[in-house]
Structures are given as structure tokens and as C-alpha cells.
Amino acid sequence: MVEPLVAIRGLSVSFDGLPALRGVDLTVGRGEAVALVGESGCGKSVTWLAALGLLPAKARVSGSVTLEGTELIGAPPAVLDRVRGGRIAMIFQDPASSLNPVHRIGRQIAEALRLHRGLDGRAAREEARRLLDQVGMPDARRRLDAFPHELSGGQNQRVMIAMALAGRPEMLVADEPTTALDVTIQAQILELLAEIRRDTGMALVLVSHDLGVVAETCERVCVMYAGRIVEETAADKLFTGPAHPYAQGLLAALPPMTGPRRPLAAIPGGVPEPWAMPRGCAFAPRCPRRAEACEAAPPPLAEVAPAHRAACLYPGAAAVVSPVPAMVPA
């Protein structure tokens, strides 16, 4: 097998002794588009903040993240500075708070160009204009002198993407890049990300809570729950035949656009709190297929079909009857 671009092995993170990430294994190949989906607090953002050394000092990080063989966990700042923005770039949910409000955007893009490509002055400004053009900013030359507050949310996100592209990264981590935007603008940004991937062959990691966004943008999807990956498969496979009951529940809870309207199949209960994590499978308390074995130990991520893994002792179709012997008269 070809060596992956990024390989994460056994990555765990805890804050003040409370686990946020509990052993994540994940690889991203060159040019691949991978999604991490899950609900708030499942660890999908923490995974990448940990990988790039962006967590506060109180976070305890263990495990390994390698970028083409170079270990990133515990790497010296000099190494990380070259990786962050240079080889792996990251954009966040709220573009307005990621940009400096008192500097013109041209200067902010030029800063990234100076750090990662050594460009200065005229050359940097010209390249910044080219980047703004590339991300579809109308009237790019004039917008170089605009402040973030003069631009709309969608345009600010384009500026963030331009800054991310400044270092010609091999991989872009987009953390909920469209969550703060209106749906018609979300469509524009997703289209832009797909276009940039086509043009540059950059790998994309999309962190999102929105299954629909993920389905349209990525080839492979990892579903996370309570600090673990619970299912990993091709995007179309996840939507036609999810194996983990949590993934099945998420899809079933989505209101349909066609057919009769009936009560939604909501997942009962809520996500376990980090200080009250179940000993076994974290999803067991909400799971319709829960059995005794589920409460013994967290199930490992195991292959259920080629290129399809799920962390469930009883993976399979949603209609599978409970493996617990039901109280039936003999």
C-alpha cells in the first residue's frame, strides 16, 4: 500500500483528566477527501487541533500523528511551524473571528505568503491578488485593501481559504467551514473547495456535523462518537448501508424531503458526559441493539466488509433484531 500522507495512530487527548479523544486511528492519502462527522463534543475538531499542536498546554496528548513519516506529536516548534500552514492548512467555522479586524485582508494574506513562501512587497501583493481571484472573490484587486468587516461572511471565508492556499499546502483541514453561512453561500463554498481540489490535487479533511454536506464533498467518511471513530466507510456506502447503530440513528433522524410526514426516529437520550463515560461501548445506553457484551469493553473498530469498518459487536442492517434473547414464550 502507498504510504499515506497523514497517519494518526492511537491518538488520545484529555483535559484535566477528562477524556476528549479516546484512541483515534485514521489515515489520509494524498489528494483524498475525508470527512469526520459527529455531534458537538465527539472529538472531531480536537483530533486535528491535537495533530497540529494547537491545543492549550493543559491538554494531555498521547499517540502518534505522522506526516509522511515525520512525527508531529511532541515535535519541536520549528518543525511544526513549517507544517502548519505550509503543508497542512486549517480553516475554521467563523471566518470573521479568524481574521484580524484591524488589518486589511491583502496584508493578512501577504503575511502568510511571507512566512511560507518568502514573498515580499510587490510579489506578495500580486500573489495575494491571484489567490483572491482563485477563490472567486469579485473585484480582487480592490478587495485587497478591504477590512474584514467590509466583507460578507461568505467573502471572509473565501479570504480564509485564500490564506490557507498561500502556503501551497498538501492538505486542507476545514473545520465546519460552512456552518456559519447561509445555505446558498454554503453551496458556493463547497463548490469552491471541490474546484480547488480538482485544480491543485490537495487532500481535504472536512470536519462537519452535517451529513448532507459531507456526502457531497468527500469520498470517505468517519463517524465519530464520544471521542472514538465508530464507523469508517465510503461516503455512498454510509448513506445506503450504515453498519453502526449510531450512524443508522443519525440518518434516520434526518427529516425526509419526500414521502409522508411521520414522527422522526430520534435517538433517545443524549451523548454521555466525559466524566460519566460508560465502561463499554459509549453508545450502548442509547442503542436499540444493546446486549450484555456491549457493556464489558469498548468494541474495536473492525472490518464488516472490505473498506468498511465499524466499532460495534453487532453491526449490520438497521432492521436486525436485537441479539438479546427477547422475552418470548417458549
Binding site: 445555505v183 446558498t184 456535523h209 448532507g212 457531497e216 433522524a253 430520534a266 435517538i267
Partner: protein
């Protein structure tokens, strides 16, 4: 069935200053919105940020007064805000906001907050009533002793709902009630709202940007763009066969697990209400606009099948154009 709530030609203007010494600019948040909501029914309001859907919610509750137009509730005109009469009426109409934590007092227990509407409206309360109310929204009676920070997001929204239901309102204005919640919790809250409606016959004004949620919840849906309703009809009719070009783009923008085909990607940004385009406000982004769209505001009127649409092209008054160049964009910037 008689209408519970009727709004006619609501207009709301704000003044905005650009910079410290700038001249005040008029911002039309609402530009002639009319709607009708019947007892026990749900009207879904969809649109993007700044389209005036939240302002509509505030106007029908009387939290703000319209500059033009009027609101009638149970066939009576809405009394002036702040008057004793209005306060009495407000027990019949309640509001649920997007962020449940922001809508609650963090220093009051859930039980005290849920009982507060009774206190305000001068009714007796007992712990049993609070317990029954909490149970009706799927909380446990012992949650009454908890504080907001001790509950999860979904539980907080349930507590907010319990508080809104305390005075047994006839109308609930829900402004993005599920947007701040996780996907698996959104379904729980939508189910709860439907159950409450079935049991109590409360009418809902369901404001959301999420078309899936709106379809799930609504009997009718109105699509808003820049302070006006541009299309209104049955949810399935509007969402499966939208007539207005904006509604079409909105529907096509719904991320869809099964779809991998083309979608309509609108050019440009949602417009600024302070720089409202002339004619049809949507014309600078519209793929089928022609000259008349830039000159004349289309009226919201029924088509042959009863669907309300405000579009010259959708009514067949003019042939579909090929969009207009956007000279207004440079001027606005």
C-alpha cells in the same frame, strides 16, 4: 377555520448610520409582509439571514410595532406594546428562541423559571403543576431543582418550551428552535413540538433556515427574501416544485446524501437590506431575470393552482430572461 393570527402589509424600517458621522440610512427589514395562521396549524418561515423572518416573529408578538400594516390576534387588533391589555394577551402567545441558555436566567432553578409565567400573570402555582409541566416536555420532575448549566442543550430547550407552555398559549413563535442543537437532539425536539401541537392545539410560527425541518413541521411554508414573502404554499408543493427562482435555488442548495449531480449555485451574496435593489430584490442574483425585473416589483399573487408567488417570470408575464449583469454590485461596495 377562523384565523388565529393575521398580519397585513407589515413594514418595519430601521435607521442605520455608517460610521460615526455618516448620514442615517433607512433599512427596510420588512417590506409588506402578510400572513395568516389558523388555530392548531404551523406556518414555516424560511429564508437566509437578514431576510426579515425573525423581525416578522417579533412584530406578530407585538415585541416591536410595525411602521405600517397591522396584526390581528383572535380577530382583535394587537394592543400597543407595554400596555396592561397587551401583557394579558401575551400569555396567549409565547416565544421560543434559538439559544436556550441565552433565553434562561442562569441563577434561577429550572422549576422557578418554568413557574415564572404563572407568577407574572398572577396565577397560583404548586410544585405538582411544575412537575406535570416538566413531564409534558419529557423532563423529570427532579429537573426542577437543577440550574440551566446542569442540563444538556436538548434538555434546556425542553425547559424553555415548558416555560412557554405554562400559560397554555394559543400561539408559539419558534425562532430557529433547533438550530443550536445536535442532529440527534433536533429530531427529539421536532417530535416534541408536533406532540405538543397535537395535544394542545397550539399554532406554531416555525422560523428556520432548515428546509428539511420546515417540511417536517409545517402545514404551510412561506419563503422570504429581503423583507418580502416571495412564495407561499403547501410544503411539499413548494419544496418539490418551487416556482420562484430564489426558492428553486434554496431547495437545490439543500445538501443531499443521495444527490451528486448539479445544483443551482447562486452568484453573489445575500443582499444588504440597506442597499435594496430596485424592482424585484432578487434580480441581481436571478438566473432568469430580464429588464422588467429590475424596474417593477412583482406582486405576491396566486397562480392557477393556488400557490402564491411573487415573480414576473413564474406568472408567465414575461419570458424567462438570462439574468442581468450586476452593475449595482460595484455601487454597493
Amino acid at each position: 377555520m377562523s384565523a388565529l393570527l393575521k398580519a397585513e402589509g407589515l413594514v418595519r424600517r430601521y435607521e442605520m448610520r455608517r460610521g460615526w458621522f455618516g448620514r442615517p440610512v433607512e433599512v427596510r427589514a420588512l417590506d409588506g409582509v402578510s400572513l395568516t395562521l389558523e388555530h392548531g396549524r404551523t406556518l414555516g418561515l424560511v429564508g437566509e439571514s437578514g431576510c426579515g423572518k425573525s423581525t416578522t416573529g417579533r412584530l406578530v408578538l407585538g415585541l416591536e410595532t410595525p411602521d405600517e400594516g397591522r396584526v390581528t390576534f383572535e380577530e382583535q387588533p394587537l394592543p400597543a406594546p407595554g400596555t396592561a391589555e397587551w401583557r394579558r394577551l401575551r400569555s396567549r402567545m409565547q416565544m421560543v428562541y434559538q439559544d436556550p441558555l441565552g433565553a434562561m436566567d442562569r441563577r434561577l432553578s429550572i422549576g422557578a423559571q418554568v413557574a415564572e409565567p404563572w407568577k407574572i400573570h398572577g396565577r397560583q402555582t404548586s410544585p405538582e403543576q411544575v412537575a406535570a409541566l416538566l413531564r409534558s416536555v419529557g423532563l423529570r420532575p427532579d429537573h426542577a431543582a437543577h440550574y440551566p448549566h446542569e442540563l444538556s442543550g436538548g434538555q434546556r430547550q425542553r425547559a424553555v418550551l415548558a416555560r412557554a407552555l405554562a400559560t397554555d398559549p394559543a400561539l408559539l413563535v419558534c425562532d430557529e428552535p433547533i438550530s443550536a442543537l445536535d442532529v440527534s437532539i433536533q429530531a427529539q425536539v421536532m417530535n416534541l413540538l408536533s406532540e405538543i401541537q397535537a395535544e394542545r392545539g397550539v399554532a406554531l410560527l416555525f422560523i428556520s433556515h432548515d428546509l428539511r425541518a420546515v417540511r417536517q413541521m409545517s402545514h404551510r411554508v412561506a419563503v422570504m427574501y429581503l423583507g418580502r414573502i416571495v412564495e407561499e404554499g403547501e410544503p411539499d408543493a413548494v419544496l418539490h416544485d418551487p416556482a420562484h427562482p430564489y426558492a428553486r435555488a434554496l431547495v437545490s442548495a439543500i445538501p443531499h446524501p443521495q444527490r451528486r449531480g448539479r445544483r443551482i449555485v447562486l452568484q453573489g451574496d445575500p443582499p444588504n437590506p440597506a442597499a435594496r435593489p430596485a424592482g424585484c430584490a432578487f434580480h441581481p442574483r436571478c438566473p432568469v431575470a430580464s429588464a422588467r425585473c429590475a424596474a417593477e416589483i412583482p406582486v405576491l399573487k396566486p397562480r392557477a393552482d393556488g400557490r402564491l408567488v411573487a415573480c414576473h417570470v413564474a406568472h408567465g408575464e414575461i419570458p424567462a430572461g438570462s439574468g442581468l449583469p450586476a452593475p449595482t454590485l460595484a455601487k454597493a461596495a
